[in-house]
């Protein structure tokens, strides 16, 4: 046959079942912070949903499909299409890496299937590339920059030197940070775009330059991510910049990064987090369950996947159908409080899901009392402030 989904007849649900598709990186740079454990998180959500609604549930048959997109947009593209066409997926979840995320947004729009992006940071998902079926769930560059930039300027130092990887994400972060810093009364005394990808892994020329700037920066803001972040931090310590009076703020950091660098290497560093497992009792309890399932502590991406799956199922339940347009209508404007979304709201204008965010600081090694409990939360940034206002670029 010529492809295309088969219709399930008169049932309200196509094929009388719901299929959730987790499409993410299961072998590359983001596999630990999300990866296959996000599939576990989604399975937990299904179990909880069934436990909660019992026989009232829309259908008994709720399953999860998953695929590895290897952080490659072309793979993401074909996997997303295959998920919809061949596996009957009703909603796609996660999709880290901005390029892949944007590509899948196209697929969602074309195939009219829901798409909850969790892993990607680009604000384009709620800007010029937004569409009716795409929801941006967990975080974005604005949230990261705004929180860290504002609070660090107020509390640590006004003069910044910004080092960013010279590509869309990095440039985006640099602009957002600069805006946040200036708005908070600070100034950026220097900024440099480092090559991306940086094959040599060397940042020494930038790090050597930082303390010699005039006026001398009090904060080095690094926008590097993943392995590049690790390189910057290692070399930051090697050149003893903290001793020279230059503190460190990080644009994008995951708990897994702290784990690999060790808290000792990062003590005192500030960054913005979307969710923290040891923040309160509710988080902690869920984190304990999660650890039983997976053997590790959850990152915010795991919690967000759980939450997104749950919200989708609730919406289908409420709409009584898995018809995408009906579910979208159900979701738009909804206000939520759950494990992940605190004071959450699914904005109808641009499908940005807003919620409280947190300014976190890495504890000194001495204060780390249990594995993975690496940070203290300095401040909760209220949902209304944490995210940008809907962009005029977005026309759903």
């Amino acid at each position: 046959g010529g492809g295309g989904p088969q219709s399930g007849g008169d049932s309200k649900l196509t094929g009388d079942k719901i299929v959730l598709g987790v499409l993410n990186d299961q072998s590359g740079a983001y596999s630990e912070l999300s990866g296959r454990n996000s599939v576990k998180a989604v399975e937990m959500a299904i179990a909880d949903f069934k436990a909660k609604h019992g026989d009232d549930a829309v259908t008994k048959d709720i399953t999860v499909e998953t695929a590895d997109h290897q952080n490659k947009p072309d793979v993401a593209n074909s996997k997303a299409q295959e998920m919809v066409d061949r596996k009957g997926v009703d909603a796609i979840l996660d999709v880290p890496t901005s390029s892949a995320a944007l590509k899948v947004a196209d697929v969602a729009k074309e195939k009219k299937k829901l798409y909850f992006n969790i892993g990607a940071a680009t604000t384009d998902l709620t800007g010029k590339s937004c569409n009716k079926y795409t929801f941006h769930y967990a975080y974005d560059t604005y949230m990261l920059a705004h929180g860290t930039g504002t609070v660090t300027t107020e509390q640590v130092g006004k003069n910044w030197y910004i080092l960013y990887p010279n590509y869309a994400f990095g440039q985006d972060m640099e602009k957002s940070f600069t805006a946040a810093i200036t708005a908070a009364g600070g100034q950026v005394v220097g900024k440099d775009g480092a090559p991306f990808p940086n094959t040599s892994g060397d940042y020494s020329s930038f790090l050597l330059k930082a303390p010699t700037l005039n006026p001398k920066p009090q904060v080095l803001g690094t926008m590097q991510a993943g392995a590049e972040l690790v390189n910057v931090v290692k070399q930051y310590n090697e050149f003893k910049l903290r001793d020279k009076g230059v503190g460190l703020a990080v644009g994008l950091m995951f708990i897994t990064d702290i784990h690999s660098l060790t808290p000792a290497a990062l003590a005192g560093t500030t960054y913005t987090d979307a969710w923290y497992w040891n923040f309160d009792k509710q988080n902690r309890e869920w984190a304990d369950r999660f650890q039983k399932e997976t053997g590790t502590r959850p990152s915010f991406a795991h919690a967000a996947n759980y939450s997104a799956a749950m919200q989708y199922l609730e919406a289908v339940q409420a709409a009584g159908t898995d018809d995408a347009d009906a579910v979208v209508k159900e979701l738009e404007g909804k206000e939520v409080n759950d494990l992940f979304l605190r004071n959450g709201k699914i904005r109808a204008e641009d499908h940005r899901v807003v919620h409280d965010a947190y300014l976190a600081q890495v504890k000194p090694q001495a204060e780390v009392t249990e594995p993975w409990d690496y940070v203290k939360i300095l401040k909760t940034i209220p949902a209304a402030e944490a995210f940008r206002t809907p962009s005029p670029d977005c026309k759903l």
Partner: protein, 293 residues
């Protein structure tokens, strides 16, 4: 001025890694006519091994600096015996392909065991300070890397170029059958040389561990730059590879420091230099005329 000197110093340190990797590549190539694509993967294994030793057995940096090259050298020897060896009579391209496949395998093995996250590795405390050079100060660890690498390169160059061992090994690899007919047990030599080249890559990896992110992909893109370096220096030439390694390190560091508005420059400068060398001296700056391949 002090800024310039600092950047120069940094370039040499960065170049030291290129030089060590290029040296291993050149040694293996010179002796076996094998271009070892997996060299970057062994560099990664060196760094990773150091991390695993530290994290799981508490073995410190200094011990790792000895253990890892030895262990990897041994692994290299096993590999040579088990697979590389079978291809010696064939076009060297087959070994290039084989080691390419090996690279994918090694990377994925490490990845599936330890994940892709970077692993922590601290600078050894003895070297964690800075050295005061009057005009500027510089991390002790970097000074150590530079001194250590230069010494090592000189030693290797001397052994291969000036001693009987070097001579036998060169002969054995150029025409193994003939050399056997002259009473030399060729098999005895090839394997250790391969192991030695791999050990050099492992050594570079251990040296990199405290400075750079330790993860399964750390050698993947690096190796391509190193290929360009050896093309520039002349693959057959030990001296050329090392010199080109330091040279490219310097050019990159200067480019990064003074042309930081043009990141493309520092990324591609090595390839531009390579193109120029190909135009001007196809055999590489220090290369002999190409052995007919």
């Amino acid at each position: 001025m002090s800024g310039f000197l600092q950047n120069t110093f940094n370039g040499l340190v960065g170049g030291a890694f290129y030089a060590l990797l290029a040296l291993g590549l050149a040694v293996i190539f010179g002796m076996l006519r094998v271009v070892n694509f997996a060299h970057g993967a062994f560099y990664m294994l060196g760094a990773f091994g150091a991390y695993v030793l530290l994290a799981e057995a508490g073995v410190p940096f200094w011990a790792a600096l000895v253990i890892m090259p030895l262990a990897l050298g041994l692994l290299g020897m096993v590999l040579e015996r088990a697979v590389i060896h079978r291809l010696t009579r064939l076009d060297p391209l087959y070994n290039f392909l084989l080691t390419f496949g090996l690279t994918l395998i090694l990377q994925d093995l490490v990845k599936s065991r330890y994940g892709v996250q970077s692993s922590p590795y601290a600078t050894p405390t003895e070297l964690s300070g800075t050295v005061d050079f009057g005009l500027f100060d510089f991390p002790t660890y970097r000074v150590f890397i530079l001194g250590f690498t230069v010494l090592l390169c000189v030693a290797v160059w001397w052994v291969l170029g000036r001693t009987r061992i070097g001579m036998v090994v060169r002969a054995a690899t150029e025409r193994p059958e003939l050399t056997r007919a002259f009473g030399i047990d060729v098999g005895k030599w090839v394997t250790p040389v391969f192991g030695f080249g791999i050990a050099l890559a492992g050594l570079a990896g251990v040296l990199a561990a405290p400075m750079r992110a330790v993860n399964p992909l750390m050698g993947a893109d690096l190796i391509i730059v190193v290929f360009a370096v050896v093309v520039i220096g002349g693959l057959g030439s030990i001296f050329g590879s090392v010199a080109a390694g330091f040279g490219i390190g310097l050019i990159q560091a200067w480019g990064e420091a003074y042309l930081s508005d043009y990141p493309l420059v520092s990324q591609t400068v090595v390839f531009v230099v390579m193109a120029a060398v190909l135009l001007w001296r196809p055999a590489g700056l220090f290369g002999r005329e190409e052995a007919p391949a």
